[in-house]
Subunit: 408 residues, 2 copies
DNA sequence: CACAATACTTAATAAAGTTACGAAAGGGGA
DNA sequence: TCCCCTTTCGTAACTTTATTAAGTATTGTG
């Protein structure tokens, strides 16, 4: 069937959680036969599964007595783990096997401190792989910080984890698991994860604060993408007057102020002491409130975020990561500063909220997107997944097949 | 035929200028019959015209002697004016009638000083309309500054032309010309115009400096769009430390520094005199170079632009408007500052260029887009099942086959 | 004037979607 | 229990759109 409709159906089912063929058809506005055929195909492939368990009454409390033939409920397969998820964090690497129908909160099965070299890292992976159930996976999903060329599968630039730039991460992983590898920029995974849990959020900017600072954008329910493998790099916008050196090679990046390390450094500088731990800083801030150094930092952050909102035309900001650990006064200050700088706030409302990170959900969404129902078969290694006829995506204006249907 | 292919063909022809059916088919990667049928249809509607004049030899100098049957060349209709173009500027209103195949540079047939009220404005329009050839136009294309809800056809917010917010500009225009009205945000028109003249530019951020400051983004050859009627509002990003009041109601907007008025004001402040004219300031700057106040302003501007580049993942900046009037040292300073703040410059190249404004070309592009080959997917429930779109249950797609107001 | 090369058209075919209709699977009332 | 109602789901026939293949038209070249 058409890739587009197949994608749409799968995405919708991902959001609905559980639905019958008829539900899907209605909610997508496509005909029942079409939805039925797609569902059939995906069942065949093991992407979906049919559940006949009595529908929990609580799931549809307001629904009156159901007339007619009850639908056969479908959901994304939750019985067979299809993916290996890998979070390559600056300080920690986490691993888990995941089904397509992912559980909601992150729950890593294995984790270890990220070493400084590719060899050691692969070694640790190997050890863990041997302890995983021997299965043939559809793919390995890797969340990485920094700038990723996700088509080519290369880390181009990673200010906080430089060794990943020099090696072919995909190949390293494939030495451990012989399966297609999908690299996903950390913040993109987070945005997809947030979207998975909040299907009604169709336009938002997700900003993540942690060891680095990055953002990711969803417009009209679609992750903003670009041919250039760079996107949402809020952390490396310069702040006038700031001269701290950044891992990216420049001076004055926002990240040097609002990353966890940057905040600790500022705190220490303001109080003439050594850098405290994160917990101690939180404690002290809870007492002292938003001190001038912090206010300055937050204002700089807000300007960058407001700038992004003004340029992008988005009115919802989702903040994840370390900033939500801090006393509420901090987020309050930031929020009001963002509103002050955002032009939409002059005649509309800006929503700013904090949310936990949902990396695994995002990784699975990315994996489904790239491996299960790819728009274009840009992954030559794809095996055991739906056969999708060849078609180039952006063949540089030469032999683009813009026609939507057909081909086989 | 499919809207998508029809759009693609028209856009391509717009870029190529003149092409045969076979050229179009080849360049779009679609089959000749398809291209032929679409071309036929568009000829019928009067969108295209066939030219049989001898092809200028200079057009394809390197091309060796052409064998075979020569193609029948097509281009966008240039004989019948189909649109009225209207530039509602802060200080001046310009008017012209335009064909689909637009001439390249702006060439307004009528112009008058924009009055302070809707009544006076309509009155002037009426006077001009009576002097235009009586024809039935396909639409009136209006370039407006400020924030425009182009679907609803309302000006939501116009810091430098407040009276347009309170009136229904579309209705005003329709009282003069009984035709569909398309409102286009000024910078969007400029971006479309630039794209028309540089078809190879597929990703860029166009920043326009004038009485206001705004930007517009093209990604993958597509004007960035958003459900929120706001986009590219670079001018209203706050600059820390700046306290000048802005027409938008806030303080410290970038626009208060780099608009023509802002620059003049800063110049006057730096030299303790009255505000000079634009020409005098240029003259003096040519002698004195980039003075500290100007450097500060440019740095602030560069940070905002670099921020946009980092977030959007774009590596090309097109600057139009007043800033290119200033001595070259000014653009040089700005360019190098943008590069310094842009993360892509760490491992790639940032292109920054200045360009003249091409408003009419952009307006026509927008008009074609909205009136001649509409997507008709412009409904709030745009859920994206485009291929062979499942007709919505709510049959509000009455204008599905609208195409072009049939006359002739 | 045949022949090669290119442009365009027509006809048959394929893919993906649609509507239409009928069988399956319950619930509720006689 | 039987019958009717409602809804789900599958199959068949039709529609739209684009493709491939084959045929016709129009030029330059030997």
């Amino acid at each position: 069937m058409g890739r587009l409709n197949r994608r749409a159906l799968l995405t919708r089912l991902q959001h609905l959680g559980v639905a019958s063929r008829a539900d899907l058809a209605k909610s997508l506005g496509m005909s029942q036969p079409t939805a039925g055929k797609i569902a059939e195909e995906l069942l065949e492939l093991g992407v979906l599964e049919e559940i006949d368990g009595a529908e929990p009454a609580s799931a549809s409390p307001r629904r009156r007595v159901k007339l007619g033939r009850p639908g056969r409920l479908l959901r994304l397969n939750r019985t067979v783990p299809r993916f290996v998820a890998l979070q390559l964090g600056v300080s920690e690497t986490c691993i888990s096997t995941l089904c397509l129908g992912v559980s909601f909160s992150d729950n890593w099965q294995h984790r270890f401190k990220t070493p400084d070299s590719a060899e050691l890292w692969t070694h640790r992976l190997q050890a863990i792989a041997s302890r995983l159930p021997p299965a043939s996976y559809w793919g390995v999903l890797v969340s990485v910080p920094g700038i990723v060329d996700d088509l080519a599968g290369r880390v181009l630039f990673s200010p906080n984890l430089h060794w990943t730039e020099k090696v072919d991460v995909c190949r390293l992983v494939q030495e451990v698991w012989a399966a297609p590898v999908v690299l996903v920029q950390e913040e993109r995974a987070l945005a997809l994860g947030y979207q998975h849990l909040h299907p009604q959020a169709r336009d938002f900017l997700l900003v993540d604060f942690g060891e680095g600072v990055g953002a990711s954008l969803v417009v009209s329910g679609q992750l903003y993408d670009n041919l250039l493998p760079i996107c949402g790099e809020l952390g490396h916008v310069p702040v006038l007057g700031n001269e701290r050196p950044c891992g990216c090679g420049a001076r004055g990046c926002l990240e040097t102020l609002v990353s966890t390390r940057g905040l600790l450094q500022s705190f220490a500088a303001a109080h003439g002491g050594l850098a405290p731990t994160w917990e101690i800083m939180i404690e002290k801030l809870a007492i002292r409130g938003v001190e001038p150094w912090l206010a300055t930092t937050l204002d700089a952050t807000s300007v960058v975020i407001a700038g992004a909102l003004n340029v992008l035309g988005v009115r919802t900001v989702v903040v994840t990561g370390s900033l939500s650990d801090l006393p509420t006064a901090v987020m309050d200050h930031l929020s009001s500063a963002i509103r002050k700088g955002s032009i939409y706030a002059r005649f509309g409302q800006i929503d700013i909220e904090t949310a936990p990170r949902h990396r695994t959900a995002g990784l699975v969404a990315a994996g489904i997107d790239r491996l299960v129902v790819p728009m274009s078969n840009r992954d030559p290694a794809a095996r055991g997944v739906p056969p999708s006829p060849a078609r180039d995506r952006h063949p540089d204006h030469s032999r683009a097949k813009l026609s939507v249907p057909t081909n086989s």
